[in-house]
Assembly symmetry: C2
Homo-oligomer: 404 residues x 2
């Protein structure tokens, strides 16, 4: 189908039109409610339909186009569910398209009246962690599942003595019988509080409270009571409405985990880009947002990762920044390229094996990452900086080999 015609169908279906002319569709109503095509740019031609089911007009080439649509704000209102139903709803199933990806959304200021955004964001997280002018360096409890509360707390003790700023539950860890949530929080926070009393450094731990709403409220309150400073949500599965509700209630930052993100983004021709996605979740109140990291163990390109990190840091309505959480296959090695690309240290840098498998132990692993970021900030190469910093030197020798 000619792209102009297909875009008109998309705009119509997602506003006041339907596949057959109906009596109530007056000129006045269309003027008030129809979505408009702002621009359309043909960007290429492909040989075969990308996704199945599209109705093809015989002998017509299959064209790709970049389309900007404009909806009257009043159709949607300041309502994230309705916004998604409008810009990411039935349109993916429309038969003139053999591929459709939402690249970005511009959300009007009116949303700010209902959605207050990240309650803590970057500055709130920094002040709770007491970490400034460098990334918050973190890790994940491993194995992901199976540890008891006492084993978890023992691991936390080792990790905080090694100098980590931030630790998180794996997203698979919830409230299993072998590691009940309440007991895990109690044991872990005992260790964290004791260390804080002794040293003044209170490590942030993101407890995964994901589940039903009453349970999440109860778990949040329990985390708070034990002196915890962060809760984690599996955003896609907890959902927008419950996340916004938790955000209005929470007294600690929300660590937003995007597991399931591959469904939304892994196909080049379906779903949405992180640029659009992260705006929705910042409005819903996520303080931290997972973005993947460069040279990760997943499938995402470095360019895409960098775009995601920058997106979280770009102001919306003059603020609303979320702290990007860089993780997956990270170690000291990616610090300079990451810093060069984003020109900021406002991020969480989460390493698993990249810290705990350091040949001289976890504390050396933490120091190697701190040193790498210091090198990056000072504009030095890792090799140069490693001449004076033994832990970084060891990391380069060890992980450099593992990764090559």
């Amino acid at each position: 189908m000619p792209p102009e015609k297909a875009a008109e169908i998309m705009a119509g279906e997602q506003s006041s039109g339907t596949f057959i002319k109906v009596p109530g569709e007056t000129a006045e109503l269309k003027e008030r409610s129809a979505a408009r095509i702002e621009s359309l740019q043909i960007i290429g031609e492909v040989e075969a339909p990308s996704l199945p089911g599209a109705k093809r007009i015989k002998d017509r080439p299959i064209q790709r186009a970049l389309v900007t649509l404009n909806w009257p704000f009043e159709n949607v209102g300041a309502n994230l569910s309705n916004l998604c139903a409008t810009v990411a709803g039935n349109l993916y199933e429309l038969s003139p398209f053999s591929g459709l990806k939402l690249l970005d959304i511009e959300i009007p200021q009116e949303f700010a009246s209902l959605y207050k955004g990240p309650k803590f964001g970057i500055s709130g997280t920094r002040s709770l962690c007491n970490v400034y002018e460098r990334p918050v360096i973190g890790t994940i409890i491993k194995p992901s599942v199976g540890l008891s509360p006492k084993d978890t707390a023992q691991q936390v003790k080792t990790l905080i003595e090694a100098g980590l700023d931030f630790i998180k539950d794996d997203e698979l860890m919830g409230d299993p019988p072998h590691c009940p949530f309440d007991q895990r929080v109690e044991e872990v926070m005992k260790v964290i509080n004791r260390h804080a009393d002794k040293t003044g450094k209170k490590v942030m731990y993101a407890f995964n409270i994901s589940g039903d709403l009453d349970d999440m409220f109860r778990r949040h309150d329990w985390v708070l009571k034990q002196g915890g400073t962060c809760i984690m949500l599996s955003l896609n599965w907890v959902g927008i409405s419950a996340t916004a509700k938790i955000s209005s209630h929470t007294q600690v930052p929300i660590h937003g985990h995007r597991n399931g993100w591959g469904v939304f983004n892994r196909s080049e021709v379906l779903g949405m880009e992180f640029s659009a996605y992260q705006k929705i979740w910042r409005l819903a109140g996520a303080d931290h947002l997972h973005t993947n990291g460069i040279r990760n163990k997943f499938c995402e390109s470095d360019e895409s990762v960098i775009r995601s990190v920058k997106a979280c840091l770009a102001p919306m309505f003059g603020g609303y920044q979320a702290m990007p959480v860089i993780s997956s296959g990270q170690w000291a090695g990616q610090a300079p390229d990451t810093y060069k690309a984003i020109e900021s240290t406002d991020l969480m840098y989460v390493c698993g094996g990249g810290i705990v498998a350091h040949p001289s132990g976890i504390a050396a692993g933490v120091r190697s990452v701190q040193q790498a970021w210091q090198a990056a900030i000072e504009g030095k190469t890792l090799e140069e900086y490693a001449l004076q910093h033994a832990e970084l030197k060891q990391a380069l020798d060890f992980y450099g080999k593992v990764n090559s």
Copy 2:
């Protein structure tokens, strides 16, 4: 990568393993927490990777396989967010896979203790509509957006006088300034209640309450106060946790709209099948679930639609059926094939143009659909039945031409 090895990585990443052996991963812990590969069947070979980003082992063919994994229930607990994080989480981004689709999930009985499922389901909906032994026949307010409350009520008046059982808001319609929710409910319910008082027939109207949780509660209560009998949620955007919360509170059925479903399913090699999806939403409490219809205006094949309808009707834990909502390009014409395939009338049959554009008017449109279903139930062809039924005859003549 050999599929056996890739499946092991998937099982490991989504349970107790990680990409590097960690100290706490004892044999005892693995025994308790590791996911197991139950079966693996190679089903074919493809020439090129389906999705980008996969790491390919040189010269190895790209194989497709059907894999069954088994997780210990205790890893997850009766928690839908954690279930999704486990079976539909990070695994989509794993680099050994150039495509990954969740085909089905078997959910253990333990979930029934927390998730009570559809509160009204098929029997509750039938008794509210007072429609038995045939589908509940419905339509959607069109244009989707732009009408005022009075215009909407006027359209409802016409539709219920024409004999419809069920009417729904479009999923784009929320609480816009030109059609405030409260006023729309009031105006529409005045018409519905008046008609019910006069005739004894109370038409079910699904009001789209999607939005933030407090707003949804308030809107639910308002619908109830005005005598309404159904609320609608955009499931994917309201989210699982908020839907479950609404379900525990609601005093009317939840009409579950799946807009955005294309993201989850349109790619053949990414996301999930409806068989898995509908179980999650039935557990969360959706009473009605959109399934598309055969010969629809979207991209889905008839086989896939039929599987979806049957999935909603298949008992889970001995019950939990949701009423399938068949819609998109439906008119009298699809009734016999639909009935033949699903052998049930326990469904909502929602027609837009397929009823309102009937050449003899909306009432004739409704009768033509009722007649078509009666023909289907009696095992007669539409052409045969049309000899005695003028409205069906006209529908065949009119829509038959439009669709050919």
